[in-house]
């Protein structure tokens, strides 16, 4: 055993702490998904929970493989590909809005022809945008505080991509938007411009709401409004959130133990949106601390990369990817503890869902690639 572990360890380059975060999140994912798919399995597959576990397990294995492969690649390759990826993602998003199948009442997916696999185009676009912005910020560092030559070229793609994601998936768009703002903040963009961007974002959002009057099928303004109203009208939270709170309360400090969740029967999509509550129910507050701690640890490790190589594209890429991941996680957890309205964001690397896990793994791979090179440079 030890030799295998040692060989794997030797094989994995880059920050071992980040690898550990990835591994632990994967373990949580397996445990929590297995527990919470019980009702889904009964509804859809006549009790065959192993079917879901198997499928999820395969996705995780595939994801880890992707992480491994993408960490082998030099991150500068990603920088070169950034404009093309971004150029590809925009038509994809447009296609999704226009022709994507409606799943769970929203058009967030595209179906790859012939294969029949669906994936969320926004996940792809998010990564493409983060790489692009990281590259733009790092390449324009010398004149980064300039409006015309630095700010405008950076924000135009941000507004386009977020504007295309927002109609069907506002929360993903918001996470991406804030990620970009944070990247620009770290990348020394002048604060007044950042506020300007924030203002532009709000303006764009208002425009979408106005447009929603004319395209209610495409832009889910009604849902947004009703969720906000639900959130503000009942301090205890809507039905799902109350069930999530019951789950968290059931867990007390040490949890009910693996597989003993009760609330999985009452929480809609316990395996995605409210998986944090299930983890808290089965593993207690301890479980919650570990999950939040893991995401925070990722932030710390990536920040460390930035301190080692502040101006580099790599650092900017790593921090962008990490921020987007951790922000999404925090958004998801905030819903479960009733701090923000229901969003539909998943818990990265833990929630069930192919696209989300695969792209999160690729993100991890890129971060690790960056850490690998930054560390080798630092060692020299």
């Amino acid at each position: 055993m030890s030799t295998i572990a040692a060989r794997i360890y030797a094989e994995l380059q880059g920050d071992k702490a980040i690898w550990a975060v990835l591994a632990l999140l994967t373990v949580f994912s397996v445990l929590a998904v297995y527990s919470s798919t019980g009702t889904l399995a009964y509804r859809v597959k006549g009790g065959d929970t192993e079917a879901y576990l198997f499928k999820h397990g395969m996705i995780l294995v595939g994801g880890l493989l992707l992480a491994y492969l993408s960490h082998l690649l030099h991150y500068k390759k990603y920088a070169n590909a950034a404009p093309y990826l971004l150029a590809l993602s925009i038509p994809l998003l447009m296609y999704t809005i226009g022709f994507g199948p409606e799943i769970n009442e929203a058009k967030r997916w595209i179906q790859i022809p012939f294969v029949g696999i669906t994936f969320q185009s926004s996940a792809f676009a998010s990564i493409a945008l983060v790489i692009y912005v990281a590259r733009a910020i790092s390449s324009k560092q010398d004149y980064i505080k300039d409006f015309q030559s630095a700010f405008i070229p950076i924000i135009v793609p941000i507004l386009i991509v977020c504007g295309l994601i927002a109609p069907a998936d506002l929360s993903t768009a918001a996470v991406l938007f804030f990620t970009c703002i944070f990247m620009m903040f770290i990348g020394r963009v002048a604060l007044q411009y950042i506020f300007l961007l924030l203002f532009l974002g709000i303006a764009l959002f208002s425009m979408l709401i106005a447009l929603g009057e004319f395209f209610p099928e495409t832009i889910r303004v009604k849902t947004w409004i009703s969720r906000v109203i639900e959130f503000t009208s009942d301090p205890d939270g809507v039905y799902q959130v109350r069930q999530a709170k019951i789950a968290i309360a059931n867990g007390e400090f040490f949890g009910l133990g693996p597989g003993n969740s009760i609330q999985r029967n009452f929480l809609p999509s316990p395996y995605s949106d409210f998986i944090y509550a299930i983890i808290c129910e089965e593993y207690g507050v301890i479980g919650g601390i570990v999950v939040i701690g893991l995401y925070l640890l990722l932030m710390f490790r990536v920040t460390r990369l930035v301190t080692k190589s502040p101006k580099a594209f790599g650092a900017m890429l790593a921090i962008g990817l990490a921020v987007s991941m951790v922000l999404q996680a925090f958004f998801n957890i905030a819903v479960s503890v009733n701090l923000i309205p229901v969003t539909g964001l998943t818990l990265p690397m833990i929630s069930m869902g192919g696209t989300s896990i695969l792209f999160t793994c690729i993100s991890f791979g890129m971060i690790l690639s960056v850490s690998k090179y930054i560390e080798s440079v630092a060692n020299e």
């Binding site: 770290i186 990348g187 020394r188 309360a249 809609p268 932030m299």
Partner: protein, 719 residues
């Protein structure tokens, strides 16, 4: 500020200004919900509303001997609607089509629009348990579950399905008490009670959610903790639906005609003890109407003083002890005598003119005086310590007849037989006990116990246990098989049994039951007319009613069935066993006889003589003893008795000759006409390899007879 520091400030600012504080807030909120608000949420939580509930297993069936269902559990479903469960989207999307389906198929007294309005109202007023359909069949349930919205399942649609089942007896009251029931708060009855564990299966558990605790409304949750119940096994009874119908019908006619208190009739297979029919009918006054109903298992549970039918045991004891012979004479004193100042009378009018007659005749006419005088004469000596003389010996004989032990039939609540211990004060033994015991009083037996005794006489002294269940089945496969059980290999000597049979036949041919004689077949039996609620005195007996009975078997020569009929307190159209119970017995016997082919002696019960048959083998070769056995069985004449084991049967003229069969060692024999087994035996012993094609007898062989054998392969074509 240099670039590097600016970046560092900013990135640390972001980390400690945004991400760390958010983490702390999220953790704080988690702990707040779990600890500070914890109790409140846990109280609201489902754990208070979720409890494991028992899931009753599907109860096994009770089947008649031919597999028809005597008792079975029919599932039915109650369907409710939780109007809150569905999401707005699902609800609104399916509202119209669902209303349409419900109006067409379920709530047919309402309009589509009305139901649509109802559905919306229920949802608005958060109704979580609206009755949709009660007692739906499985097919109806499946159909309703396929409706729009409902097909999304309980959690997404709010359609709640509760499964129940009820016990049905497809044959109505037939053998109702024998089949029995198991109910909460009641003593389990009949086979249902006796085989409760077998039929009941294993209860499962399932988590249930309380929708409304106050009204105790629970819905099942499908999750991993469900333990499926294990269905009960089926039991196959000995009951024959047709015979049960006959017996029940005849009994009903009789209790009705004689306006009796209750009646019972049992039909049992002599050789095996299989109870083929068991009917009980008790009088019930209901709305000033008199009805008879299976209200109690009189045959099994009621100990009765049998009266004259018991005389069979008395006379068998006397015969077994060698005290009497059937042709000895006895003075029956014109049917009247006294024992210890208590008067005993014969009820049969035959007795009034007779002083002295044979013991056989006294039994035929059921003379009380005759029997009582015999026992008091031979079992007079009083010595409680020695059970080889006196009443103790008589009691010992009765015990040898197994009359003191319950039969052990598979029905709860079998009455214990009551036979007094000789001279026992506890049993209030008195001088009159012995004479009255001899004619079936001061003791109690259930009708079934008495029948078991008569059955043993019919079965040449072998007492078999009456039983009702032959098999336990699971999904049609036998799990447990109950074979006939012998209670007593020989209750009396062959001589005694033969005499007892002779006496029982005589009762029908010349005695009290002579009017019942059937032209078509003979039967044997004993009548009984017992007094019930009587009070004995020197002036005779004051009687509160009679109990007519008849126990016997048929056909007399080769008994197939034994049967007992007991009718308690007939109030009109006669009181005597021969006129009340006897006719029931006779009609049951006659109908059995006509309906049961196997009771008729076949015209040809040997194989037909073989005159000409193209099925005869062309050539019969085989082992000598086998050959002889077959020829003897077929009654075919043949000649010859060769000295070898292997023989051949040849046709010589018009007779068969059995000849020696010898095969030259190194030559191929002819095996044409042989069966495969014989051909293989012959050829493989000669070291040949044999290939076989087809089936039947050997039609062709690939090697010509006479060929020299050198381990070749020979191909046989069978036809």
């Amino acid at each position: 500020m240099d670039i590097k520091n600016e970046v560092l400030y900013r990135v640390y600012g972001l980390l400690f200004g945004i991400f760390v504080p958010i983490s702390i807030v999220l953790l704080y909120k988690t702990i707040y919900i779990s600890a500070w608000e914890g109790q409140r949420w846990r109280d609201e939580g489902a754990s208070a509303y979720i409890k494991p509930h028992k899931v009753e297993a599907e109860r096994g069936n009770i089947m008649a001997d031919d597999g028809s269902l005597l008792a079975t559990s029919i599932p039915y479903y109650n369907l409710y609607f939780d109007a809150v469960a569905a999401s707005d989207y699902d609800f609104n999307e399916n509202l119209d089509t669902l209303a349409q389906c419900l109006a067409t198929h379920v709530l047919t007294d309402k309009t589509v629009g009305g139901i649509r309005q109802d559905l919306m109202n229920w949802r608005d007023s958060t109704k979580r348990y609206v009755k949709l359909k009660m007692r739906a069949s499985y097919a109806e349930k499946e159909f309703i579950q396929s409706f729009p919205l409902f097909r999304k399942g309980q959690f997404r649609s709010g359609l709640i399905v509760q499964r129940n089942s009820e016990r049905k007896r497809p044959f109505g009251i037939a053998a109702r008490r024998t089949i029995g029931y198991v109910r909460d708060g009641a003593v389990p009855v009949g086979l249902e009670g006796y085989f409760n564990e077998t039929l009941g299966g294993t209860t499962g558990t399932q988590m249930m959610l309380a929708l409304d605790k106050a009204n105790d409304i629970w819905i099942p949750l499908d999750d991993l903790t469900k333990v499926e119940p294990k269905s009960g096994d089926d039991i196959v009874t000995t009951l024959d639906i047709n015979l049960q119908d006959i017996v029940e019908n005849e009994l009903y006619k009789a209790v009705n005609y004689h306006d009796a208190e209750w009646g019972t009739a049992v039909l049992m297979e002599v050789k095996t003890g299989k109870v083929r029919a068991l009917a009980n009918l008790g009088r019930i006054e209901y709305n000033e109407e008199t009805k008879w109903y299976e209200d109690y298992n009189y045959a099994v549970g009621r100990g009765i003083e049998p009266g004259s039918t018991f005389k069979l045991a008395t006379i068998m004891a006397l015969l077994e002890d060698g005290y009497i012979d059937l042709n000895d004479s006895i003075d029956i004193e014109r049917g009247q005598t006294t024992f210890y100042e208590e008067k005993m009378e014969d009820s049969s009018p035959f007795s009034f003119k007779i002083d002295s007659t044979s013991i056989k005749r006294a039994f035929e006419i059921s003379s009380n005086v005759g029997m009582a005088k015999l026992v008091t004469q031979y079992y007079a000596e009083k010595n409680a310590a020695n059970d080889n003389i006196g009443a103790a010996k008589f009691i010992k004989r009765l015990k040898e007849f197994n009359l003191h032990i319950p039969t052990g039939v598979e029905i709860g609540g079998e009455a214990n037989p009551y036979i007094k211990e000789a001279y026992s004060e506890e049993d209030q033994w008195s001088g009159t006990t012995l004479p009255w015991m001899s004619i079936g009083y001061e003791l109690k037996l259930s009708p079934l116990q008495l029948l078991t005794f008569f059955n043993a006489v019919a079965n040449d002294g072998v007492m078999v246990k009456p039983h009702l269940v032959t098999e336990v089945q699971r999904y049609g496969e036998t799990v447990d098989l109950f074979r006939p059980t012998i209670l007593n290999k020989r209750i009396a000597s062959t001589g005694t049994i033969e005499k007892a049979q002779e006496l029982l036949e005589a009762v029908v041919t010349n005695g009290t039951a002579y009017k019942l004689k059937s032209k078509r077949f003979n039967f044997a039996g004993k009548t009984g007319t017992a007094q019930v609620n009587y009070r004995r005195s020197s002036r005779g007996t004051r009687v509160g009613g009679y109990q007519a009975s008849f126990a016997g078997y048929f056909p007399a020569e080769d008994p197939v069935y034994s049967c007992i009929v007991v009718i308690n307190k007939p109030k009109q159209n006669g009181i005597y066993g021969s006129e009340v119970a006897g006719p029931v017995f006779k009609r049951i016997a006659e109908k059995c006889y006509t309906s049961k082919l196997e009771m008729h002696r076949p015209i040809n019960d040997r194989p037909l003589k073989i005159l000409a048959s193209n099925e005869l083998p062309i050539k019969s070769i085989g082992e000598k003893t086998d050959m002889k056995y077959i020829l003897d069985y077929l009654d075919v004449e043949y000649f010859g008795n060769p000295g070898t084991d292997l023989t051949v049967l040849d046709l010589e003229g018009d007779s068969l000759m059995m000849n020696q069969r010898s095969i030259p060692a190194d030559r191929m024999p002819s095996v044409v006409g042989l069966g495969l087994r014989d051909a293989l035996f012959v050829l493989e012993n000669k070291g040949l390899k044999v290939e076989v094609d087809g089936y039947g007898k050997v039609a062709r062989q690939s090697l010509r007879a006479g060929t020299v054998i050198q381990g070749q392969t020979v191909k046989l074509t069978m036809q």
